[in-house]
């Protein structure tokens, strides 16, 4: 008798997590999306079109790079980077965005809205909107518009309207609230292009499916490079989309899966975003999952130097994987992440996003626990957008030397 495969699980529920905890006005749109997506995933034409876009626009398959010098610097292991940073727009986010943009066309909608933290999903959404001729509004917490100003400019150049959200903590959580409010009012004409594996069904399943190409490609690439499966697959976790994307293909394999959450100032301080490690189950943004909340069920403020991980919720499938013991979740502090960002830059000539650096920072400890391990890392995004934060953090403003006139 065959065992139930973990990887076969689809929403609305992942164990006790998931569901649709949203106001009734949105249910019709979620039903429509669920229906259109179910049709599309079984339609060879849809798959063909998406594959073509991945090949000719996104730049897939993304390559696998072995980071030998980085590995030598951190310990006894081999490190393989799945280069989602090389995708068009600079992160994994485009995988999901192109899929949902095609669905938007199928639904006959002309306007997309999106939330963004670091700006990666906002940039990807603005890009798809430009490509497909859709109107695009991106909601971004005011704090994030400041720390990711470069991405704001990119989105605007692409023709999107960027709305700074001043409510609540003025970060990703509040950007999602505002996008939901827009969606309630404009659901007839608008698709909410949610950027992570959180939110109400069908988003967690659909967004995961669109990102599962990361794991599928890298499994093949690891087999080609090493002749076997990796010993561990790791990724950073905010909402959890890049992590689920690379984990999914390995869920039923004998491979260790580790998600790294942002521990901010430290996992035992109040200043962190380690939702799974330190949170409790609750309902946020339409799904039941682990979340950071106080004893009254009010959402707690999260903190991370990385805008993309600064979120007090997480996708329901991760909560399920944590409870099943299938995946493990660990915290990485701001400092550890920034050190790893610098190390990869200097040893390999690859500047990772600060989000991604959280996964890289976990390798040193992992190599101690699994000596000689082959570790596959989802290099989910490039760090160009983080130069202002990095320049401040490492004091890189100005130049080393000036030559020329006195």
């Amino acid at each position: 008798m065959s065992k139930t495969r973990i990887g076969d699980q689809v929403g609305p529920y992942f164990g006790e997590y998931g569901g649709r905890f949203v106001p009734e006005p949105l249910i019709a749109a979620l039903d429509q999306l669920d229906e259109v997506y179910s049709e599309a995933r079984n339609d060879p034409e849809f798959t063909k079109e998406l594959n073509m876009l991945h090949r000719e626009y996104t730049g897939r398959p993304s390559v696998l790079t072995e980071a030998t010098k980085f590995a030598a610097a951190v310990g006894d292991c081999r490190v393989f980077l799945k280069r989602e940073d090389l995708n068009h727009t600079g992160s994994h986010k485009i995988n999901n965005v192109m899929g949902q943009a095609l669905l938007t066309k199928r639904m006959g909608k002309k306007r997309i809205i999106a939330e963004t933290g670091a700006g990666q999903h906002g940039v990807a959404s603005a890009t798809a909107a430009a490509y497909f001729g859709l109107e695009c509004v991106v909601y971004m917490g005011e704090v994030d518009t400041e720390r990711q100003a470069l991405n704001v400019a990119r989105m605007r150049l692409l023709g999107a309207e960027v709305v700074a959200v001043r409510t609540g903590t003025r970060t990703l959580k509040d950007a999602i609230n505002e996008a939901m409010r827009d969606w309630v009012a404009n659901v007839d004409t608008t698709h909410y292009l949610l950027g992570t594996v959180a939110g109400p069904h069908p988003f967690p399943t659909m967004v995961r499916d669109f990102h599962s190409i990361i794991g599928k490609e890298s499994k093949q690439q690891m087999l080609e490079a090493t002749g076997k499966l990796p010993d561990a697959v790791i990724a950073c976790v905010g909402g959890g989309s890049n992590a689920i994307g690379i984990f999914h293909e390995f869920l039923d394999d004998d491979v260790k899966l580790i998600g790294y959450e942002a521990a901010g100032d430290g996992i035992d301080t109040p200043m962190h975003s380690a939702t799974i490690s330190k949170g409790t189950p609750g309902v946020l943004h339409g799904a039941r999952s682990y979340m950071l909340q106080d004893e009254d069920g009010q959402t707690s403020d999260s903190h991370s130097i990385s805008a993309g991980l600064d979120y007090p919720g997480v996708g329901p499938e991760h909560s399920w994987l944590k409870d099943l013991g299938r995946a493990e979740y660990r915290g990485i502090t701001d400092k550890q992440a920034m050190d790893a960002m610098a190390l990869l830059s200097k040893t390999e000539g690859i500047i990772p996003a600060i989000e991604t650096a959280h996964a890289l920072a976990g390798i040193e400890q992992l190599a101690k626990e699994m000596p000689g391990a082959n570790i596959l890392v989802n290099l989910s995004g490039r760090g160009d957008k983080d130069m202002e934060t990095a320049a401040r953090y490492f004091d890189l403003t100005g130049v080393n030397r000036i030559v020329g006139d006195e």
Binding site: G19, R20, F21, V22, P23, E24, P25, L26, I27, A28, A29, D31, T167, G168, K173, N177, M180, R181, V184, A185, N186, V187, D188, G282, V283, L284, H285, G286, Q293, E295, D296, G297, Q298, T299
Partner: protein, 259 residues
């Protein structure tokens, strides 16, 4: 039968008023609710301030932020209900997003509602599909449970949500969040008409109602009108006196129209 159902099924108009518990402080929120009731509000919708109110517009968001900044805690909701109950028999329905209730524990929360004399719950982000436990506990304790229907709801969902409700079913007047609207959508009238074809559950219409004329208009086809933002704006701008005047204006919409 639910007292709320009885009230709404009378052959007259009904005004349902929303006000957040603890806004701006606990004492002042009790005082404000009592003035609303004195002025003609026959069912009180008592809001629980919450960090992520995705159905609410800026006025209610701001008010609930003020309440929380002034130290509002969830247990204070029960204190407000208790104090109101000492002075009024008007039905009190608590409006809360789902997470605070889950956090306290659904049974614990429901029993506290019952013990303090609240009549039930309005749940903006809980659809009957996800409400098995709440339906069972509210049946057991005899608490009203108000689900929503919207212009976008299918006839099937309208029927299902109406049948799952106890007390009344809340018709969302328009596609959007709470806040005043100059003109009420024809959508509200259509939605109520669709409801009437599939269910006898009474309904009150909310979202966007801010004038006495709109209260009158809504009561022509629905069993009651729900007003929130307009009360809070009046209070924020004119204090208790402003709230009293706004209540009087809205209550004019309850009087029979003389042709």
């Amino acid at each position: 039968m639910s007292k709320v159902t009885e009230l709404l099924n009378r052959d007259s108009s009904t005004l349902i008023g929303y006000f957040p518990a603890g806004y701006p402080t606990i004492d002042e929120s009790v005082e404000a609710c009592l003035e609303m009731i004195k002025g003609g509000v026959e069912i009180l919708e008592l809001g629980i301030p919450y960090s992520d109110p995705i159905m609410d517009g800026p006025v209610i968001q701001k008010a609930t932020e003020v309440a929380r900044a002034n130290g509002f805690r969830l247990r204070d909701s029960f204190e407000v209900i208790r104090r109101l109950r000492e002075q009024t028999d008007v039905p009190i329905l608590v409006m809360s997003y789902w997470n605070p209730i889950l956090r306290v524990g659904l049974r614990e929360f429901s029993e506290q509602l019952k013990a303090t004399g609240a009549n039930g719950l309005i749940t903006p982000d809980l659809i009957p599909d996800e409400a098995k436990d709440w339906i069972a506990i509210s049946d057991e304790l005899g608490l009203d449970r108000i689900f929503l229907i919207a212009p976008s709801s299918s006839d099937e969902r309208i029927k299902r949500n109406a049948e799952a409700s106890r007390g009344f079913v809340y018709t969302v007047s328009t596609m959007g969040i709470t806040g005043e609207r100059g003109q009420l959508d024809a959508l509200a009238r259509d939605t109520v008409a669709r409801l009437r074809k599939v269910s006898t559950t009474p309904t009150a219409v909310g979202v966007g109602i801010s004038t006495g004329d709109q209260v009158r208009e809504v009561n022509e086809y629905a069993n009651g009108a729900i007003v929130g933002t307009a009360f809070i704006r009046a209070y924020a701008e004119g204090g208790l006196q402003g709230l009293i005047e706004k209540t009087q204006e809205l209550a004019k919409g309850l009087q029979l129209q003389s042709d």
